[in-house]
Amino acid sequence: MDGSLMQAAGGAELSPALAHLVAARLPSGAFALVGLAADGAELFRLPLPDRGHAAAVHPARPEAVAFARRPGTFGLVVDLVTGAGIARLETPEGVHFMGHGCISADGTRLYTPENDYARERGILGVWDAADWRRLGEIPSGGLGPHDVIEMADGVLAVANGGIFTDPAMDRQKLNLPSMRPSLAYLDPRSGAVLEAVEPPARQASLRHIAMRADGTIAAAMQWEGEAARAPAILALHRRGEALRLLEAPAEAQRRLKGYGGSVAFSGDGRMAAVTSPRGGVAHLFDVETGAFLAEIDQPDVCGAAPAGAGLLLSDGMGWLRWIGPDGRETARRETPGLAWDNHLVRAGA
């Protein structure tokens, strides 16, 4: 179902079948980065030293970087053909990864959102994607940067969650009353903030982003106030415009529990999906009109990525579900005993 994807995956060496990457917990309790074919068949399981979160795929070479779950300090570069580890990225002292990263379209740079807790600031680590050296870092434009995407013009879109944590205190949120989340657009060289938008509700931690081919960003938020008063947790944004908040009718909206776990556009770019593992539902919206299209029941659903013209959803119970461009399920597949972790990443998007 994913012809276009396979072409997009580029490099001839890359397994023609690879469609998605996803971190998982195996039945043994160990963790792995799993490669999936378009029909969900497992192509490989690469062991990870600890729980993973998301991955970044190289646009030309069959390589990907798997990131540790926050507040992990490892990023593992793996060869997607042989499964061999190519390099291990380590954050500097006083800094940890946030579980996400992206490689520039020209294949030269890896950008990693990081928490510089020693200096209480958010940064993006900048790495050479050829030899995986750390080149330096730039400010992220806010606290708690979580997700990053490179746009067509090289500008970096960053989701700054706005929350400060310190690994010595687990993941406890240390500044909730004063948090200021933002979607920031950064100059990739200087880190200068070219534009930034903040959710109208300051306690909506803007955590995950996805981009459509035309540069529209979809952002998923996690509400830190009382769940019953949760506002919209999905927003769309285009440079120079205002943030558009997308919300379902009240009853359905409440089922999200104010928690957006992941966000994706459908392959045809017409739908935006936000998942809520806490609510056990995914919501689909029409990107053009902002209309609420459908609610999908799926316990512990979190991963979401484009698949064909539609979407693929994954959950902690081991299920994968494909949603067609009409919002209807087209297929599903279970791997008993396996838990798909937070994010699905399309390989070669």
Binding site: R25, L176, E224, E226, R278
Partner: protein, 397 residues
């Protein structure tokens, strides 16, 4: 109410671990790789005004394992689930928050103009006692705005409380004169641990007047405000909603299963806090104890907090009685009772006992008894309320 604070005690917060339980979804298994459009699957529910291209699939939904999996184990009836929530509200949640709000208000009153040290200390201990009765209820109102942490900033391995409080003192920051602004200062400079730093620390400032007195008053007033907000949120919003959930009419708690589940999760988190943090942190390893990691050791509350937290957990566990067989109930009551007894008899203060090979053993016994009680509860009550913790739902990232 003011404790004889000869003993020392501690407290913490929860970090529920996710255990995989996949049986929920495994029930109506349709084999791997079902074909597109094979009918059984479509669980997309069209809602709202825009239905273009979306079919109503009500009948198909019912057959979906994704819906079926939400059901609690058939063994526990709706009536029993509602009873659990009602018992928790009546015996712990509502009276506990009311008491804490009133104790925090009394502390604020004592701090206003800086009462005599003995009065301040007694008011602090009463507020901390009352907090321990509810500190494990870290969802809903306590989760909003990070209120639980604003009440008690602990564990604090980096010494944020000292740093933040000392920073305000050094700068004589005028933020103390503006309650709205103070509500947004670092949580480490707010709450009970900040009060402890000012009232009990060996290097405490002179509280007879001036800036330290204004700071103390600001912290206590802010704490009272947070405690009142917790109380009001429970009384006006969460408790009524939990009751409506019994009839399937809840807005926050969407089904009759949800209240017992969040209470169960809170109980497990609170137990881990006591076992791993209140006891585990100061115990450290046999070769190296960490006395200064004990909770509220400056005010000699560490062991008292262990005992009070075990009592609070036991009270909440008792609310699950309607779901348990008589034998199971007996076993789980005995588990908590033993842990509480051992905590009561353990040698205080805890931060000294952990360093003394002769007394350390008694603290370890409390820890192991608490772990036994926790495991029994998990084993006996978890299945009764159909707990199947989510890998992603609990990750929170």
């Amino acid at each position: 109410m003011p404790p004889d604070h000869d003993a020392d005690r501690e407290d913490d917060r929860d970090a529920p671990g996710a255990k995989p339980r996949n049986e929920a979804l495994a029930k109506p298994r349709d084999g791997a790789g079902a074909k597109p459009g094979d009918g059984a699957g479509a669980a997309a529910r069209p809602r709202g005004p825009a239905r273009r291209g979306f079919m109503a699939l009500g009948a198909a939904m019912i057959a979906s394992p994704f819906v079926a999996s939400r059901r609690t184990s058939a063994a526990t009836s709706t009536e029993v689930l509602a009873k659990i929530a009602e018992a928790a509200l009546e015996t712990q949640v509502l009276p506990g928050h009311k008491r804490f709000a009133s104790a925090a208000a009394a502390l604020a009153e004592a701090a206003k103009g800086c009462a005599r040290p003995s009065v301040l200390r007694a008011a602090y201990h009463r507020a901390f006692d009352d907090w321990m009765a509810i500190s494990h209820l870290r969802f809903g109102p306590a989760e909003a705005e990070g209120r639980a942490l604003a009440v008690e900033f602990w564990p604090d391995p980096r010494g944020f409380v000292r740093r933040s409080v000392d920073g305000l003192l050094a700068d004589e920051d005028p933020v103390v004169d503006d309650p709205e602004a103070f509500h947004e200062v670092s949580v480490a400079a707010r709450g009970l641990m900040a009060v402890e730093r000012l009232v009990f620390d060996a290097g405490r400032p002179d509280l007879s007047g001036g800036y330290p007195c204004r700071l103390l008053a600001a912290i206590a007033a802010d704490l009272a405000r947070t405690a009142e907000a917790l109380h009001v949120d429970w009384r006006d919003s969460h408790a009524p909603d939990m009751r409506r959930a019994a009839r399937g009419e809840g807005v926050i708690y969407r089904s009759v299963e949800e209240p017992p589940r969040v209470l169960y999760t809170a109980l497990m988190g609170g137990a881990r806090m006591t076992i791993e943090k209140r006891l585990g942190e100061p115990l450290g390893t046999f070769d190296r104890a960490w006395p200064a990691k004990a909770e509220a050791w400056r005010s000699a509350r560490s062991l008292r907090n262990v005992e009070l937290s075990l009592q609070a957990l036991s009270t909440l566990a008792e609310c699950f009685a309607p779901a348990l067989e008589p034998e199971a109930l007996k076993s789980q009551r005995a588990g908590w009772e033993r842990a509480i007894q051992l905590a009561r008899r353990a040698p205080a203060p805890l931060h000294e006992a952990v360093e003394d090979p002769g007394r350390r053993f008694a603290i370890e016994s409390v820890q192991s008894a608490a772990e036994t009680a926790r495991e029994r509860f998990e084993h006996l009550a978890g299945p009764a309320v159909g707990i199947s913790p989510g890998f992603n739902a609990l990750d929170g990232d």
